[in-house]
Subunit: 424 residues, 4 copies
Amino acid sequence: MIDKNLIEAENAGRQADLAQDYQSLGERLARRGVDIDALTDRARAFGVAVPSWGTGTGGTRFARFPGLGEPRGIMDKMDDCGVIHQLTDATPSVSLHIPWDKTDPALLLEKAEETGLGFDAMNSNTFQDQPDQAYSYKFGSLSHTDAATRQQAVEHNLECIEIGQAIGSKALTVWIGDGSNFPGQTSLSRQFDRYLDSMKQVYAGLPEDWRIFSEHKIYEPAFYSTVVQDWGTSLMIAQELGDKAQCLVDLGHHAPNVNIEMIVARLIRAGKLGGFHFNDSKYGDDDLDSGTIEPFRLFLVFNELVELEDTPGLNLAHMIDQSHNVTDPIESLIVSACEIQRAYVQASLVDRTALEGYRQDNDALMAAATLRAAFRTDVEPILAMARARAGAAIDPIAAYRASGYRAHVAQTRPRVASGGGGIV
Amino acid sequence: MIDKNLIEAENAGRQADLAQDYQSLGERLARRGVDIDALTDRARAFGVAVPSWGTGTGGTRFARFPGLGEPRGIMDKMDDCGVIHQLTDATPSVSLHIPWDKTDPALLLEKAEETGLGFDAMNSNTFQDQPDQAYSYKFGSLSHTDAATRQQAVEHNLECIEIGQAIGSKALTVWIGDGSNFPGQTSLSRQFDRYLDSMKQVYAGLPEDWRIFSEHKIYEPAFYSTVVQDWGTSLMIAQELGDKAQCLVDLGHHAPNVNIEMIVARLIRAGKLGGFHFNDSKYGDDDLDSGTIEPFRLFLVFNELVELEDTPGLNLAHMIDQSHNVTDPIESLIVSACEIQRAYVQASLVDRTALEGYRQDNDALMAAATLRAAFRTDVEPILAMARARAGAAIDPIAAYRASGYRAHVAQTRPRVASGGGGIV
Amino acid sequence: MIDKNLIEAENAGRQADLAQDYQSLGERLARRGVDIDALTDRARAFGVAVPSWGTGTGGTRFARFPGLGEPRGIMDKMDDCGVIHQLTDATPSVSLHIPWDKTDPALLLEKAEETGLGFDAMNSNTFQDQPDQAYSYKFGSLSHTDAATRQQAVEHNLECIEIGQAIGSKALTVWIGDGSNFPGQTSLSRQFDRYLDSMKQVYAGLPEDWRIFSEHKIYEPAFYSTVVQDWGTSLMIAQELGDKAQCLVDLGHHAPNVNIEMIVARLIRAGKLGGFHFNDSKYGDDDLDSGTIEPFRLFLVFNELVELEDTPGLNLAHMIDQSHNVTDPIESLIVSACEIQRAYVQASLVDRTALEGYRQDNDALMAAATLRAAFRTDVEPILAMARARAGAAIDPIAAYRASGYRAHVAQTRPRVASGGGGIV
Amino acid sequence: MIDKNLIEAENAGRQADLAQDYQSLGERLARRGVDIDALTDRARAFGVAVPSWGTGTGGTRFARFPGLGEPRGIMDKMDDCGVIHQLTDATPSVSLHIPWDKTDPALLLEKAEETGLGFDAMNSNTFQDQPDQAYSYKFGSLSHTDAATRQQAVEHNLECIEIGQAIGSKALTVWIGDGSNFPGQTSLSRQFDRYLDSMKQVYAGLPEDWRIFSEHKIYEPAFYSTVVQDWGTSLMIAQELGDKAQCLVDLGHHAPNVNIEMIVARLIRAGKLGGFHFNDSKYGDDDLDSGTIEPFRLFLVFNELVELEDTPGLNLAHMIDQSHNVTDPIESLIVSACEIQRAYVQASLVDRTALEGYRQDNDALMAAATLRAAFRTDVEPILAMARARAGAAIDPIAAYRASGYRAHVAQTRPRVASGGGGIV
């Protein structure tokens, strides 16, 4: 963890400017009828889970270029997550990935207490083979043609639940790579039936207070068809499984040009939106840092969430899911958490009374202008104040760099060699 | 209509070659265990509806360039449809569009008898304003913020049902352009609620033996959001309305790269696939002639339909929906009907026993090769023989051109001026 | 034109807040080493041309829903453009479209003086047929197989130059719809050769101080191939024609996912970037208001332009090209001009010294953060102050609405009926 | 290699059917004025290079699932390539990848003689780090900000040329992953300048009779910008480097919806088309087997190549570039070579005289029908006869499976463990 004194020292030099910017913004917001402190409180109450795997440098099928101080395992990863939360106060929980993070639950709980973190949704992994695995997932897992392979995948998911129960998680996210690479390779319909059968077995093992999240993705690693290819299929799954099953929306898992905020609105209408995997993308499932490619799109997603936040039963799991290939993963996760929080605060700024009036009058121009007015408001002082008030860093990246954390852990964490990705 | 003697004369010169090709193909198919005559019977039993509006030259927002002998109204359009069916024996019915085709039902029935055609699904139109209309659809129809406008749109749909009942139609297809052009312009959620409310009123007016088809489209004419934007939303609509509501898939209404045959499989699984609007496209809703851009995609759609053809309750409405901007519409519709029929016959050729074996063994290569073997079989002799046996044309385009039909109708149908599209 | 007193009165009530916001922003910018007045001067020096055709309500192939007070011709359109410039001080010129705007050049010059506007690039139209035209453009214009049709299109372009010379324009933009709807319909290579031959004739008629802009577009109205489909082809054209030929980039004319700012950088490198058609889009060539769908993308385009603004010989023609289907076109053009100016000012804010340092160090995170810091700065006070100092409106939309201009012109401009687009 | 007797035995059982099918197809083609033997000769003269790396099982960033008998190095890979050529007679050369295939050139030449193969274009690799490498390519190679890193990448390319010279190759293909993951991370313009500078050094080292191929790709592994992102940039590179520089088109490296055959026609017009990397794809750079996803697209590419085959100076390098994740790579390469050959033969079948007539008359329907008539001709008998006459296999997959080659090599090649891809 980072020394609190360092954070305080870093904040000290920024406090005066922040106070002035906060006051000035507060006055401008007051003119629009908005109470800045109420927004700061909303910001403080907002949290997004960090994926344990996101703390390591990611790669592509072509190559992976690790950085210094790569985490050696889940204990290191939780240390890194602890730093992110310490500096941002925006990432109170970690989402684990089994078997990557498999270890003694007691150790996990101990580390959670040490780092001040909780555990969000568990993630199963049936898109890779593990060394000791009886059946290969080369041709599928939960939807495999072979019953024994499906059973193995079901049991793995049940084990994830078991581990999750031991550490206080309340949800399981299921994402599989199952699909096909060639027209004809698989029966699109029967493969889906097999998937549903397997999922019903997993669902049957779900504790009463748990949820299961179905996560769709249009393609990759399967390149012709994917069993859970879009939100329509994900909805069918959630409907068929039952009340504890909901849909998870990853921002990068859609076809080009798709309007994601509409999907958000539809899934809320269906009572089936369970949560998000946040990231940003330009081409495919690029898994880039949230809010760095198309920030207005992220804002529009949160605009739906804020507009519909009073929907009865809405209970969203916010998670980051990114691949950090060219940055320090801790820094990318810090920035991403802040960008997600920014979009939430900007969406909270929308003058909804005015907006509804314009909509009712079909005043498209002013309705759109109302959203843009919120989006272009620089809410950085609100985010910074929320952090300052929580004892986190006014400028988290600066504080992180000042702390020398990465160099420090690099002393004990061994250097990892660059390597090819999946292609060789 | 075209003189039967002309068709016979045209066929006479082609009969010998056809007989030889049919026999040769039959021998090759027999080697694969396929009975060519059974396929020819399947081809003969296959039909696809022609859209009345497709008989006129289409255009874009930039311009429209009519040809000679443009149909003056529904009577001319049905004459043209009659010719298409006469030459192909593959288009036994017409799909009407109200108010474009509105006229005395008795006249429609009389013309239907004269041309040997029936009436497929009715199509309502609330994406344009009619001269005598009380409320404008500029800002929406069934989902408009204004109740009176919604009511007008509901009543128009009920009127379509009424007309359809008078002429023996059994279904209503609802496609609307409602949506928005700007983020914020409309509440994505409440606009959908209003749409559902309106549709429930239309549904309530549906006769017992009718179906209503919900047709989705990703964009155009709305360019930011569309109320029924994808099959997921369409499925929610069909589920909420009831058993008589089903989804209609237009091949050109999807996001780029989307795997359409998966949607077909999913909707059949959900018991909600109602039918198709066939066409082809490369970029957006290009409405090009079926099978001319990506013929393998059309084949893969039919591969699902044939694989799942014994699904209980499956009852599909096959319709063409195209815009013919640079061809004689009659010729494009002839070609399209034949290409759709071709895909159906090719899909019927798939060695499904072998395919299932390969799938079970995860022999991706041979499974894919099995589909391709069917696709690359030149089934033209089967299609031609099906036509010949029905008294239609072995080569429909040649017969049509030989008939001089277009020049003939151009004598009575006045020349139509070129014009701008929607932009000026 | 709008009464100056009204603008002054409108501004009066906003002056105090603006002064305060401007000062506060100035202080914050000063902290970053930025002189706010220098930015305001840059904003004031920035201008973008308005397309004459943009002042009328646009439509789609499905329908067009005109508003009140539609302009009756180029004189009305220039009045509307005058109002836009009066309120924004950001649109000093108009881009004409021939033959839509064809009239006595003396009248155009008179109206230009009256409205305080100049004339930007001329636009030819060979994608529609005119009533008196000898040859149809149904199958192409500058690239038609028929020499006489090509000649007609060449002469039309030469006439556009002639008109342009009479009114002080210095450039011709050539965009054609030529292409094909079906594989095989045209020889992709020979059609391009014919296009180049025609363009060489147009180029030969270009005055010494003129430029010709080649504008590419991936599709629509042609749906399989388009002669000038992308910037690569456009570059080949500009290279083959000569020094006076350059490429024009329309933001909505690209394939999905394409990185437009890279094209901007490449064309500048090739010495061939001539200018822009600004608009925004989500799916295809949606022609929506600039900066309303993906504002960060617009910023990134301007980021390239500012980074490379000292490139020798760079001389860009900035034009808007949009279709206003659901808004008052004057309002949309006002908003769009302001959003384009906003992106320019935000891009001018980038700390380029810091940015270069981060780039040199491969500090991807901080380099990206540097761009985002500029983008999220709310520069509205700068834009508003630029307007105020020029005697334009602090809040142009509010002033426009207060003026009652639309209702006023609706008294003399007759109501236009809604109509179908190109489809019927 | 596979025992010739086995091939003969396999062929023996298929000879009678082939003879009959060949004769029957010959009669049908003769009716269309086509000499089947001339086509068979064209088929026999056609060849496509196999990528050495394609003989190993590929993977994604998520996982890689090797099969049995994975090649241990370039000697094994050439054995596998030899089998492919032996069975298809369509893959006379191998394309090497350095450093993956780096070994004593004398051994390569010896193995080439043994397997009857030649060497096509060399491929350099600066998208991965090698264990002994001084500078990392994490942030770029030929376009890196650091001069020493660029120099290292230049020298690697020069070494590839050196190796290539020793084994009789005549071309170098340069594909790099350089780009950026975030807006701002790199200067789009200066990064390109650096790339050009480096490429000029490589070009300077090119022997007189060599060519260098510039290969573009829209994205991956860089996810925001890629230095050589499209054919326009690739063309600029080839123009700037000189006559020995040409562009290589990989079918999967384009934006969605892009018309690839137009790019082919344009690059031929510019005198800059050097060759292809063949594969197929549905979503991104899926690297699937050629002709298995959109066979008509492959046909349309070859349609351009055949239409323009007499273009002076045209000299194309045909290569396969695929990733075989779920099939036996040898089988996928066999099928792909055959599908590429099939598209070439189908394109050779087009009645070009008729086609030109239809084009001249703007008879879009018949022009398109003319292409489709060629495409739907089942030319399998021609391909099979071409193989039979060369002593290759009538049914290469059946012969390969009958040979037991994979099981045989699996006895000496050790089992490779499944592994994660780039993500962990």
